[in-house]
């Protein structure tokens, strides 16, 4: 018992452990948030390098640099690394850093589990990455792991499946922690309908994660037993059905894409009011729209499978249900626009990225509506049109907003201002190159170029070359962000004020704290809750 009391006394020791052990054993939400963010930035470059291998191969028709099998494993691994290694962990990192600060809590509700969910993520990604060095190469059947093709994977298959299990466990633990924190750790006076939208969107995202990650785990478990233990889940000869896999996968997969976009909405709803110097327009409708989008995400999954051979009633149902998503999403776009309307706007880097998000995400949303129409989707399915669509909803949306979040909160985290001029250069290079990269892919898709191929017919050559040029400009200009982060940590352009942005302390609790934020914050709850965002 004395050991326990000794450890409890440590509670009053307000510094982190020394050396590498600090990071291995930490339970501090800021340390864990930092680890998530740094890890996801590294993975962003790993996944990005894979994308550049893909774009280099597609620069010209014909086979240039890589073998087709390796090309396929690049498209597969690029998606897995970006989804599970970069975008999701980056948002979990933001959640770790910001949710306790935004709701006035001393830490996350379950700090030890918080540590474990980070290391499970690292373990999962390590297992996944190790497959690239195995006999038969990494998984190459696409990130969706469709059978029967995926069952032909070499030695990589069980490793990839167990990596998915680890990543799932990591996400579920992270999500449970976020829900318990939001429900149980709010400061007095921080009612649910006073929470910043970032907290709301993460709460709803966490529900999605807990509901669908186990379903994905179940689906890949069935792949494992089909391959190694003689089951027939996805084999018609034994009475199973490969289409069954697609249903289970997309029951997970569709909420999964909203897991990446809902926190994006939350960050945008946090940044835009600060730089428009106005309260967020339509707070309540934002909350309801988020909930409605989350609900719809569970009942639209088969719009990913319009060409697979479903009964016509199924095609119609999934078509109409999918179109409904445009309504709450439209509410959100309207609210962001109305927030900016007649605002005293300034255009610092976070705001620039956020405005680009509103415009370009709308574009990505519209192409989504086009593909919701089942009869026309038969034309777009598995072409570069879908590639353009989901990259518009992920890169200029999720990734841009993650960059915006970095610029927005870096001064609060480090206590130093970042270099605004290089920040804006980073923005303009990104915003222009991303359109050079992905806009031509719409034309390629409409002209009939299939996705996931290493070579193509010559009529696609011009747009592919332009797309690849955009990819390399975009990829290398992201190095500016790394430079800015390191520069800001080392002092940047000077000390940041506590509020950082003009009147920001009216918008959120985090701006009432000192910059940089102390290692422990809100050990006693805040006296006053800001309500400007309402």
């Amino acid at each position: 018992m004395s050991a326990v009391i000794a450890e409890h006394d440590e509670h009053h020791d307000h510094g982190p452990a020394k050396g590498i052990l600090r990071w291995i054993t930490t339970t501090n939400h800021k340390d864990i948030g930092t680890m998530y963010l740094v890890f996801s930035l590294i993975m962003f470059f790993v996944g990005g390098s894979m994308a550049l291998i893909i774009r280099a191969e597609l620069f010209e028709p014909g086979m240039q640099f890589v073998e087709p099998q390796f090309f396929n494993s690049m498209t597969t691994m690029h998606a897995l690394v970006m989804v599970f290694g970069a975008v999701m962990p980056a948002f979990v990192g933001l959640a770790n850093w910001m949710i306790p600060l935004m709701i006035g809590a001393p830490d996350m509700a379950l700090p030890r589990m918080n540590n474990m969910s980070f290391w499970m993520l690292v373990a999962g990604i390590l297992l996944m990455a190790s497959t690239l060095f195995m006999e038969g190469g990494g998984p190459a059947a696409g990130w969706t792991f469709y059978p029967p093709l995926v069952l032909q994977t070499g030695k990589a298959l069980p490793f990839a499946i167990f990596a998915v299990h680890l990543l799932g466990i990591s996400s579920i633990m992270g999500a449970i922690n976020i829900i318990a924190t939001i429900f149980n750790m709010r400061a007095p006076g921080m009612d649910m309908m006073k929470m910043p939208l970032f907290v709301w969107t993460w709460l709803i995202t966490a529900f999605l994660l807990i509901a669908v990650m186990p379903v994905f785990a179940g689906a890949v478990t069935m792949l494992l037993t089909d391959r190694f233990f003689d089951t027939s889940f996805f084999d018609a000869a034994g009475g199973g059905d490969p289409v069954l896999y697609q249903h289970i996968f997309w029951f997970f997969g569709h909420p999964e894409v909203y897991i990446m976009i809902l926190p994006t909405f939350g960050v945008a709803s946090t940044i835009i009011p600060v730089f428009a110097r106005k309260p967020l327009f339509g707070y309540t409708s934002m909350v309801w729209a988020t909930g409605f989008i989350a609900f719809l995400s569970f009942i639209v999954w088969a719009h990913h499978m319009f060409t697979v051979g479903m009964p016509i009633a199924g095609e119609l149902y999934f078509m109409y249900a999918t179109m409904l998503i445009a309504i709450p999403t439209g509410v959100k776009i309207f609210n962001w626009t109305a927030t900016m309307w007649k605002g005293a706007m300034t255009f610092e880097t976070p705001m620039l990225f956020s405005i680009a998000f509103v415009v370009l995400f709308t574009l990505g949303g519209f192409t989504g509506l086009m593909m919701a129409v089942a009869p026309s989707d038969l034309q777009y399915h598995d072409t570069y049109f879908i590639v353009a669509h989901f990259h518009y909803t992920l890169v200029p949306a999720s990734v841009f907003i993650l960059m915006a979040a970095g610029y927005f909160w870096l001064p609060k985290w480090t206590g130093n201002m970042y270099n605004e001029r290089i920040g804006r250069l980073h923005f303009w290079l990104s915003a222009i190159s991303i359109n050079i990269l992905f806009f031509p892919q719409h034309f390629l898709g409409l002209a009939g170029m299939p996705r996931r191929i290493p070579d193509y017919a010559v009529q696609f050559a011009d747009w592919n070359m332009i797309s690849s040029i955009g990819a390399f400009i975009y990829g290398f200009s992201q190095l500016l962000f790394v430079y800015i982060v390191i520069d800001t940590i080392r002092g940047g352009t000077g000390k940041a004020t506590d509020e950082v942005w003009e009147d920001a302390s009216k918008h959120g609790l985090e701006w009432t704290l000192p910059s940089p934020t102390p290692y422990h914050t809100f050990t006693t709850p805040p006296a006053k809750i800001p309500t400007e965002h309402l």
């Binding site: 326990v4 409890h8 379950l110 490793f159 680890l166 807990i210 689906a219 089951t231 009475g239």
Partner: protein
């Protein structure tokens, strides 16, 4: 005590990292084993040992912290929420397998048999014109050979009664805990643990019969797949639940838990009721219908 008005935030946890390393080692070992690599089993055993070490160390730490009064009401709420949402995630895991059963029974097997107006109708004519849709089935290729499906009455019905009874005994033990009747608490838990392991034993016997008398294996087409994966994962959860109950029994015997502070008991009891409910679903959809 000051501990009761501040939320306890632990520092310097070593177990999460050790547990992660163990689990990763175990899974990498299993993958190696499936690939036919000789190092697989060793890695699995090493990883599993590390994982068990983590479970023991972490739970011992939690128990001693709890007993020394470091968790206030608010910490207890976080733990309860954690357990609740963990169980929800387990429900969704089983939902994937129940969904697979529903889909194959009601959609894909009838389509293979040419029923309905879906585009799947051509499958019958082109692939297996002789196949007639029925349940149970091991598919048009009769994968795994002839088998006898598992009936609902007999062992499964007995197992249903056993699990339902164990749900009652664990609640009886809970009432004993609340009323500070230590005897009732211990006896109730012993009965629950015994019924839990009895269930697992009977389930193992059922599997033995299926494999050796009925020709029913994991390889018996979609029926064998769904039957063994659903009941197998459930059986695994019963094992885990019974082990957790044994720990709770040990802690009760040591005099842990008070009527106000017994999250450990409550969490495990919830888990036990959850495996109970899953079994009812299994009994209806796998055995009975």
């Amino acid at each position: 005590m000051s501990t009761n008005d501040t939320y306890y935030v632990p520092h310097k946890a070593v177990w999460p990292f050790i547990g992660t390393a163990g689990l990763m080692m175990m899974l990498a070992g299993f993958a190696n084993y499936l690939n036919g690599s000789a190092i697989g089993p060793t890695m699995m055993i090493f990883g599993l040992s590390l994982f068990i070490l983590m479970l023991t160390g972490w739970f011992a730490l939690q128990a001693s912290e709890s007993e020394s009064g470091m968790y206030n009401h608010s910490v207890g709420i976080s733990y309860r929420m954690g357990m609740m949402w963990f169980i929800f995630s387990e429900v969704m895991f089983f939902a994937a397998f129940f969904g697979a059963l529903w889909y194959t029974r009601n959609l894909s097997v009838p389509w293979l048999g040419g029923i309905g107006d879906g585009p799947a109708r051509a499958t019958k004519d082109l692939l297996w014109p002789a196949f007639e849709a029925a349940w149970p089935t091991n598919g048009p290729a009769e994968v795994g050979g002839e088998f006898e499906p598992m009936g609902a009455f007999g062992l499964p019905l007995l197992n249903t009664l056993i699990l339902l009874t164990s749900g009652v005994t664990v609640t009886w033990a809970h009432h004993g805990l609340l009323a500070k009747k230590r005897d009732q608490l211990i006896k109730g838990l012993i009965a629950t643990v015994a019924l839990g392991f009895l269930f697992v034993g009977l389930q193992a016997f059922e599997y033995y019969e299926a494999y050796h008398e009925m020709g029913l294996t994991l390889g018996s087409g979609i029926y064998g797949s769904t039957f063994f994966m659903l009941t197998g994962f459930h059986g695994f959860h019963v094992c885990v639940g019974a082990i957790m109950l044994s720990v709770i029994l040990f802690r009760s015997w040591k005099g842990h838990f008070t009527p106000e502070n017994h999250f450990g008991f409550e969490g495990v009891a919830w888990y036990w009721h959850f495996v109970d409910v899953v079994w009812l679903g299994l009994f209806i959809f796998v055995y009975l219908l």
